[in-house]
Each structure stands twice: as C-alpha cells, then as structure tokens.
Symmetry: C2
C-alpha cells in the first residue's frame, strides 16, 4: 500500500518506534471509537514537534495522504483512515514529553499527546485542572481540533476559550512549524491564527503543542435533581438559577425520561430517587461549586442551594414540581449512566446538536410529536447541556425493528433530523463533535458556497498537502 522505500525513509526520520506497519499493531489505530473501521498504509508515531515536521514534510513531498490521530475518542470518523489502505495515520500518542506548569500564569505548556486524565492528574496536587469535563478521555490535540465543550461549559467555556497558544505543523513541503499565540492572555497584534486550527479536525495543520488556561479545582460542590413543572418551565428555571447563583452555577444538564429509564434499566445499582420510583418527564441536574474552602461564618454550599431552591419555590410562577438535593457522586452517577444505558436499548443513532437555549425544548417536543408518524418505532432519548444549548439527541431503534432492514432508513432519518434542526430551528448539526467523514455531507450541504470557497483557499494557504479526513478544499 505504500512503497517500501517510503517506510525506510520515514524510519530513518522517526526511528523504529516511530513507524508501525505490522497489520496487528495498526488495528488499534484503524477503528473509530463508535463507528467505522478503515485500513492504514502505515502508522507514524513521532515523539517531538521536529519529528512531526520532518515526517509530514516528507509525506507531502511524496504525495502521501495523512490522517492525524489524537486519542481517537471522537464520534464523527474524524481520526481514522478510510478503507483504501493508502492513508498514513500520524498518531500523537508518543508526543507526551513536555509538561511545563506556570503557576503564576495559571497555565501549562504541554505536548498534544497528553491524555486529559493524565494532565488533570498532574495538575491536581496544585489545586488546578483543565476545566473541560468529558465522558471520554481524549488526548489534548484532539480536544483542540474538535473544540470540545462538555458538561461545565456554562461556567468554564469550551476548549477555544481555554487555549492560549498552539504549535502547529503544516502539511506543506517543508513541514512548516507555526508557533501561534503563546502564554499571553491579552495579545492583539494581527490575525489570531490559532483560531483556525481549533475545531477544524486537523485539516489545516497538526497541533503538536499547546498552552492551556487552567482553573482552580472546586473545593465545595452541591448538586440536586430538579423536576420542572413542565418542559416550558426549563428555561425560566435556568434563568432563575442564573439570577440567584451567577458564577456558582457550574452545570445545568437536562435528561429526558426515556434516557433516565434506560440508565436505570442498564445499571440496576443506580438509586432511583424519584417519588414512588416514577421517573418524571424531564429532570435537570443542577450543580453549584466554589473554589474556596468553607470559611467560618459562611453558609455551606448545600445550604446555599437549598435556600435558592426555597426562593424559587416561593416565586409566583410555579417552576418546580420537585427538587432533590443529594451528594454529587450520587447525582452525577445517573447522568454518567445515560449514554451507556441508551446504547443498550437498541441501535443508537446519535446527534450532537445545539440551539439557542430557548429553542432546545421546543425542538425536542417537535421531534417527539412527529416521530411516531414519520419514523414509528424510533424512540427519542435526549439529554444535554441546557445551559449552553447543546443536546445529545439520541434516537434508538429496537434491534428487531423492521426499520433496520430498510437500507435507506438511517440516511432518511438523519436528513430529516438535520433539516429540522438546521433549517427550521437554526441550530448546529455538530455542537461539540466537530467534523469528520461521518458528517462531511452536511458540511457540504449547509455551508454557504462563499464560505466553502474561503475554506478551500485557507487550505491552500496553510496545508496544501493531503491532510485530515475532512475535505475543505
């Protein structure tokens, strides 16, 4: 699939450890976390930015197509090779040398191959963390190229907001290394080039190093399940919480009855805290947190949450049907079981959508009303980040459903969901999973021609070589 002399040349550049060509050793790099399996011509594992540069430059001069791969935890087939067997994977998994903490600046300079968990493990003793809260455990480079958000976006923002600087290798004949941004928080001296490498799936360059903003780890946390009086009361409830809690509010997650029921069914050990064990139509997980230790004379955080909820109970408009304050590990256990629970109901067809905050519930209601007629047998198991407009709009089809025998079914379903989300509700078809082979067609469909042409021009300007799974050109 790739000439032996290319392998020899790349091995000279990267050493034996840096080039993988044995079929069985390549398998782990060929399969996506949820979808698809491709075939790599080879896997490169450079250990430094200089090695990435040398290898990329060589491949571009030789016309070899490259697929950057970070933690390979993405869900849109963005980091795995296609089935042609002609693409070379560039893995970041050995780019884990540099870790330079700057406590004064509250930032860290790290190689892009660090896992999020390892980064946070090293930061914990300093009372710090990288505040992107995800179910998966990606490597940092991939978090940058997908611009992940997560459950605490409401308080800490996305990866873009927390990225101060990047080092990027371009797919040009020289393997040009760009040093973009730095440790500075304020710097307006021209184009902020790092922005075009954030959230663009590695098509414009390979991120090899980053400077990240760090936040202080919370020292107090209080959580509750809130049952809104109805779906229409979810947004007023969010606003009432924001008004009373401001920057304390660190999560406001929505969970539909179907998703919760699936979690209870799949994880019997989960405590069902709802009255009579009856799962409400919709439940909010609210979290408030403080980075300070409890101080004498200061109300404990549980008491703050309880008094805020008492105020909300007393409002003229009845927003709440029920509220249950409980320990964070118990409250979050349900939220964390949703994804696995839903998967076990049947075949999962997942959408990562976002909306204006006021439109989330309306969209979900719209779909739940129309689904039985349009696609009978499809169950909506939505949950998501109400505070920032993100929805994991999960659809499940029973494994024995005749729908699965219809070869056009899944595509028709996807087209319909995206059309309603994007055209009718002006939402996003990829809130935090970015682009990959899986949703390329929707990029092509929903991106105005002028912007597609500009992206093609930008590709030529930065990485004219064959790089990444997404076609911007």
């Amino acid at each position: 699939m790739i000439d032996e002399h290319h392998i020899d040349a790349l091995t000279k550049l990267l050493g034996d450890k840096g080039v993988v060509t044995r079929r069985e050793d390549m398998e782990a790099y060929e399969a996506g976390a949820r979808y698809d399996r491709g075939r790599a011509a080879a896997v490169l594992r450079p250990a430094t930015t200089e090695e990435v540069s040398a290898a990329v430059g060589y491949c571009v001069r030789s016309g070899i197509a490259l697929i950057p791969q970070s933690g390979n935890t993405g869900l849109v087939s963005g980091s795995t090779p296609d089935e042609s067997g002609s693409e070379v994977v560039v893995s970041l998994d050995r780019l884990t040398r540099q870790f330079a903490l700057d406590l004064d600046n509250r930032s860290v300079r790290v190689d892009a191959g660090f896992r999020l968990s390892e980064l946070n493990r090293r930061l914990e003793e300093h009372g710090l963390f990288f505040p992107i809260d995800l179910g998966a455990d990606p490597r940092i480079g991939g978090m940058i190229t997908t611009n992940t958000g997560g459950s605490r976006f409401l308080k800490y923002g996305d990866v873009r907001r927390n990225t101060l600087g990047l080092k990027v290798v371009l797919a040009d004949e020289a393997g040009t290394v760009l040093d973009l941004g730095s440790d500075l928080r304020k710097n307006n001296t021209g184009v902020d080039w790092k922005q075009i490498f954030i959230g663009t799936s590695g098509a414009f360059g390979i991120v090899t190093e980053c400077v990240l903003n760090l936040e202080r780890l919370p020292k107090q946390t209080a959580t509750a399940f809130l049952v809104p009086a109805s779906g229409a009361h979810v947004l007023p409830l969010l606003k009432a919480m924001e008004e009373r809690l401001g920057a304390y509010l660190s999560a406001f997650e929505g969970m539909s009855r179907n998703a919760i029921a699936a979690a209870f069914a799949h994880v019997p050990a989960l405590k069902n805290p709802f009255q009579g064990g009856k799962v409400p139509d919709y439940v909010i997980l609210a979290e408030i947190s403080r980075t300070s230790s409890p101080r004498e004379g200061e109300q404990p955080l549980d008491a703050v949450l309880e008094s805020v909820l008492a105020e909300i109970w007393e409002m003229e408009e009845v927003l709440l049907a029920d509220a249950l304050v409980g320990p964070p590990h118990e409250i979050w256990a349900l939220r964390h079981a949703l994804s696995e629970g839903v998967k076990h109901l049947g075949k999962l067809i997942a959408f990562d959508l976002s909306f204006r905050r006021g439109d989330i519930m309306a969209f979900c209601d719209h779909m739940k009303t129309e689904m039985p007629e349009k696609f009978p047998g499809v169950t909506v198991c939505d949950f998501g980040h109400i505070g920032d407009g993100g929805v994991h709009f999960n659809l499940v089809v029973a494994k024995d459903s005749p729908l699965l025998a219809d070869a056009t079914f899944e595509q028709r379903l996807r087209n319909w969901v995206f059309a309603v989300a994007v055209e009718q509700y002006h939402g996003s078809f990829s809130a935090e999973h970015a682009l990959g082979r899986r949703n390329q067609a929707f990029y092509d469909l929903y991106t105005p021609e002028k912007l597609r042409n500009m992206a093609a021009g930008l590709k030529t300007l930065t990485s004219p070589g064959k790089l990444g799974s997404v076609r911007f050109g």
Copy 2:
C-alpha cells in the same frame, strides 16, 4: 480628491444623509482620539448592512480606498484617514437600528454602530450587561475589531470570548455579506470565520452586526486597596486571592506610585486613604462581586472580603503591608483618575503591553532601573491589569525637557521599550489596542515572515479591495 461622479453615485446608494463631503462636517471623522489628524476624501454613513455592502462594492470596483470607523476612540490611529485626502471613511455611526434581545439565550443581536454605554443602558432594566469594562465609550464594531479587554477581563474575558456571531461586509467587487456564527454557543461545523475579523482592525471586512453574550449585572460589590509587602509579593497575593475567591474576584488592578501621585495631583478632590497620606510604591485595587442579591444567612460581601484578607494576613509569608476596604465608588475613583493624571504630568508616551502574569513586575522593575541611564528625565507611570497580564506602561517627559527637542528621541524610546518587552520578556506590543498606523512597523518587525505571508493571502481571500489602515498584504 474624489471625482464628483463617485459622490453622485454613492449619494444615490446612501441618500443625502449617507454621504458627507463638506470640510467642516468631515473634521470629526478625521482626527484620532489621541494622535494624528488626516484628511478624508469623503465620509460615508450607511444605515444598514445592505447600504454598507452597496457602498463598499461600488468603492472597490472604483479603486477607492476605505477606512472603516466605529466610535473612533482607539489609540493606535486605526480608524482615521491618512493625510493624502484620497481615503474615504466608512462610519458606523448610523448603524444603530437593530437591537434584538434574547433573554432566554442571554444574548443580543445589535447593529455595530451602538455605543457601549447605550447598549448597557438598554440592558440594565433586564439586569444584564455586556461585560467589557472600558474607560472610553466605543461603538461595538470597533470593540470587535480591536478585541478590547478592560478591567474585568479576569472574570469575563475579552470581546472575542463574548462574541457569538458577526455579520461582515467584505471589500470585494460584490460587497459580499458574510453571516458568521449566530446565536449559538456551541457550534463546530467548520472554520469559525468570525475569529479572523476580531482584533484585526477592519482590514479583512467591515463588521456591521453582532450577536453578543450578556452577563448578569453584579448586585453586590466589595473593593479594597491592597498594599503588597513588595513588588515581588504582587503575584503571590493574586494567587492567594484567586484561591480564596475564585469567580468572585472581578478585578485585580495594579497602580504604581508615580501614577497614583499624578492622579492625586490632578484631581485634588480624590481622597488619599494611605497612612499619613504617603503613597505606597505599588497598590492593588481588588474587587469582588456577586450577581445575586444578599440572602438571609449569607455573609455580606464586605465581610467576605475582610475575612479573606484576615486569612491572608495570617499566612506564614507576609504578603501585605496594608489593606483598606472601602466603598467601590471611592476605590475606583482613584483608578479612573490615573489616565488623566498621568497625561497632565507632561508629554505622554503610552504603551499597551502584556506579559505572562509572573513577568509584569519584573519587566516594570527592569525598566525603572534602566530608564535613568538610558533616557534620563523619563518617568515611568505604569498601571494595569495584573490579573490578565496587561500593563499600561506610560512614560512621561516633562514638557520643558530637552529630550523633546531631539527628533529621534521618541522613536528610539519606542524601539527600546518594544525590544525589551517583546524580545526579552516575550510580551505583546499591543495587548488590547490592536493594530493601526501607529504600530504597523512593529507588526512588520515582530511577525514572522510566514505569518505575514499567510495574512496577505487571507486578505486576498476575503477583502482584496483597499480596506483599513493596517497593511496586512
């Protein structure tokens, strides 16, 4: 300076109100807020995005050079015409029609010509504000193209962080209108094009409309002057405050003795709160704030600040020499008087620098040590945003100083300050004022050739016409 038939054609597009050619009416658009006076060929005042598009397209087809101008409060000669009399100013001052508040989404869609003060005036009744705190009162479009930061960056970030969407008119023959981003907080479906128009001084397109994130207005604020035990204790003090206050901390501003003394001298009504009236070497203004109203059982914010300061007093390392909690309007009055005070000392040569937070005091010390030898007679009156690394590094020369007779003096001084800041301390030569004619030479000097070439390519890709005061091409 511009053919009469062009004026006629533009008047047909924009109406009589939309085209200014009388010398006396153009004057206000020709002078910068602090520096320079140019000469405009005409001033265009379109009232809608469509009018901007029509006028820009016409001018590009006719080879006419355009200078976008927003509130014209910038300090780098970014928004005024040069002295040739051939440039046409495009003012945003009539772009003030649209104001669409989305309370659920906590965002507003506004035309770019709104003044910050007017925007916040309209938001106040909803308990909201656009959280960029500045001394000047710019229009929103200019805030976007300079990516302003301000005094509360520490808590709320810069304009970039608070911009959800933009409408931009490109300087191409069609006057293409781009609709970029939107009301969504999470959206990763390709290049986030709005980012290249933020902080780039209008060279790539004219921002005509924006969707902005809003924050809740604080309902409680407590402030104090902190006198650090020495300059070396400023950063440990910041970290001790961050550890204990987290997201409560909304400002941590540094003020040097020279700057404070200048404010006291210029504004005799200012209260001097320091022991014996003796101004300390360095003073920190610390502010904490809460968006919630005081709640029963909750410590008032003044008491929180006092108890945090008591904890810091008890630390093993002595960080504080003194601390004075006082009412916000009195505490901020001194901070707000610094800029005017310093101006009255003599000729002001101002620098808008930024550093890693840990390097700010070291840089200022370095300069204060070397200044008497390198440039005797120049006084350093620095103040700035320690929490985010920004420094208003102000130098003052007595009006009767012989230095001012030396034609090369100011340039030599600028070159030296920038060289130390950028080359030795890896700082930024424009933290929050962005680029204009005033600092173009330093862009040319300190931007790597590859990035300058990429910017030129981006210019061709977006706005090939003559647009803006900065030469990226």
